[in-house]
């Protein structure tokens, strides 16, 4: 009898765990997953369509269904697009890397001042600085263009770096400040009592503790500088000077060479996609963190 009891107990336990395991498959849950998957397909559809078209020979494009991948994929569109995008991709890569490096240092420095050094009216000064995030850059394109031209920086990589670094100051400062307010003030005060100066505290205490903030800002600045179109269009000049990849993509084809255009779009998106796949967590943090206090 005891054995039977134990057997029954085991069976009921098994049934219970099994019920728990399949609990998420109730009709309501199934509907939930169906909707989620439907939206996921919808969100991915444009990327899928761009991808299949980029692999198709241009002559086949007008007669084919863009949802179905080509039977005989070719890389012809990629090599043609890369011929026109190669140099601009190198330009973009050059100034984007430089901007990201400068922005990290400037942002962390400014963030440190606003969160740990502070001074009279520092909150007001911070507001004046952060308000710069809201400026639509299209409105100041002409004065910017003439200033950069006066500085002899038009159609140079240096000009692109300078512009992006300056307009990146507000958002990078904001991201670092939000991060540094979480570092306890007592540590800073203790170092100050020990006779450390502002710069020393920044270098020895704040900077070594900013790992995640740095990755977040790298991710944020890389995507926004890489994706920029306006500054590149107005300040970048020709392909051999400092034209970025986004502007070159804009000029790639007049309308309907879809396979080449889609190959170009995939090429320009690739660096951001790679970063997104490997550092997606930090992208989320930058995107959400930048807004949490703006």
């Amino acid at each position: 009898m005891k054995m039977l009891d134990r057997f029954v107990a085991k069976v009921t336990a098994f049934v219970k765990t099994f019920q728990k395991k399949i609990a998420w498959m109730r009709p309501k849950q199934i509907a939930l997953y169906l909707i989620l998957i439907l939206f996921a397909v919808g969100f991915l559809l444009p990327i899928w369509v761009a991808f299949t078209t980029s692999l198709r020979p241009e002559v086949e494009v007008p007669k084919s269904n863009p949802l179905i991948p080509p039977t005989s994929p070719t890389s012809a569109a990629y090599s043609e697009a890369l011929g026109k995008l190669g140099r601009p991709m190198i330009n973009s890569l050059m100034f984007t890397t430089a901007v990201v490096a400068c922005s990290v240092f400037i942002g962390s420095f400014m963030g440190y001042i606003f969160s740990k050094v502070r001074f009279k009216y520092s909150n007001l000064v911070f507001l004046i600085l952060v308000a710069g995030i809201f400026l639509p850059y299209t409105t100041i394109v002409y004065p910017l263009f003439s200033t950069i031209s006066d500085l002899n920086l038009h159609s140079t990589i240096q000009g692109m770096i300078f512009t992006h670094v300056v307009y990146g100051i507000p958002i990078c400062t904001l991201l670092f400040r939000n991060f540094y307010t979480k570092i306890p003030q007592s540590i800073v005060d203790k170092a100050k009592r020990g006779g450390a100066g502002d710069w020393e505290i920044y270098r020895k205490i704040i900077l070594p503790a900013s790992g995640t903030a740095i990755v977040t800002v790298v991710m944020y600045q890389f995507t926004s500088v890489w994706n920029d179109f306006l500054f590149g269009l107005v300040l970048g000049g020709a392909e051999t000077q400092a034209m970025p990849a986004t502007v070159a993509l804009g000029n790639l084809a007049i309308g309907t060479e879809w396979s080449i255009l889609m190959a170009g779009a995939m090429i320009v998106f690739l660096p951001v996609l790679l970063l997104y796949i490997f550092l997606g967590k930090y992208f989320v943090r930058g995107v959400a963190g930048g807004a949490s206090e703006a």
């Binding site: 507001l127 809201f134 299209t138 502002d198 306006l230 993509l249 959400a288």
Partner: protein, 293 residues
């Protein structure tokens, strides 16, 4: 006694700070001031000119039908904000249930936000291509031939196509902000409402939504900034403001007048009007969000 001006020389940290701050002041506020000054001059040729003409440029702008068309389209683009918020809220509520693989869905929904606006413009141009673009192909295959149309090649649907592309790009961001807001609500409050027998719908309406004021407000402002950016970066490489001027926006008009046509003073006047429109929305936001601190 220390002289106050020398503090900055003794303290390199403050000196660097000051240089950076002034640089930023010049390139943000200095440029706005430049525009305001230029808008009162007659600099409307390639040769710089600084004769004061009062409000002449502004009164000309207000008589320009292209300006009203651009303003109308820019305001029409603001429809992206409620649409993205609505879709984002819907997706956030779905993902706030106990969902396996929620992270994967989140990554997929947020991915368009990482796209360059130029890439979005080009990809959606192909999605909406009139002959065999994906949208028309799908509509025809499910028997909705009636809805298949010229999309961005047709003056009556071009803005709709652009709005759809923008909602695709920005709703993932709204989802992220709203979901983060939902996760920060204490489970206790939701359980309390549940124990009183409230339905899921009523819990969201009564307990969750009122707590989402800040993420909603933030999303509105951030999406608005991105819409104004996209009003140039996305539309210019896609339709170029066409067909005709049917998708012209204020940002496109500013850049074309000032930069392409060297109607500098006229472009500056349009730019100032655009800044004024933005300020009307930003100032209440900044006031509201910093009031309590």
């Amino acid at each position: 006694m220390r002289k106050p001006t020398l503090i900055f020389l003794r303290n390199p940290t403050l000196l660097i700070f000051l240089i950076l701050f002034i640089l930023m002041l010049y390139f943000v506020y200095g440029m706005i001031a430049w525009n305001i000054r230029a808008s009162f001059t007659d600099w409307n040729t390639a040769v710089p000119s600084s004769n004061f003409v009062g409000f002449a440029n502004y009164s000309e702008v207000f008589q320009d039908s292209l300006f009203w068309q651009s303003l109308k389209n820019t305001l029409l683009l603001f429809l992206v904000i409620p649409c993205s918020l609505g879709l984002g809220l819907f997706l956030a509520i779905l993902l706030n249930q106990k969902v396996r693989g929620a992270r994967i869905f989140m990554i997929i929904y947020l991915m368009p936000f990482a796209f360059s606006l130029v890439v979005t413009g080009k990809v959606w141009a192909w999605m909406f291509a009139p002959d065999n673009g994906a949208v028309n192909t799908i509509l025809r295959s499910i028997g909705l031939d009636r809805l298949a149309g010229g999309w961005y090649t047709d003056t009556s649907t071009v803005m709709l196509s652009i709005i759809i592309a923008m909602v695709w790009q920005f709703s993932g961001y709204c989802m992220l902000m709203l979901l983060a807001g939902m996760k920060s609500i204490p489970q206790k409050e939701i359980d309390a409402a549940k124990s009183k027998g409230a339905s899921t719908f009523r819990i969201y309406r009564g307990v969750v939504l009122p707590r989402l004021k800040i993420p909603i407000l933030t999303s509105v402002v951030v999406v608005m900034i991105f819409v104004l950016k996209a009003a140039f970066d996305l539309i210019r490489p896609w339709t170029g403001g066409g067909p005709g001027t049917s998708s012209y926006t204020l940002p496109i008009m500013v850049v074309n007048e000032a930069y392409a046509k060297t109607h500098v003073a006229y472009g500056a006047a349009v730019a100032n009007i655009l800044v004024a429109v933005v300020l009307c929305i930003i100032i209440p936001y900044v006031y509201w969000s910093y009031r309590g601190r």
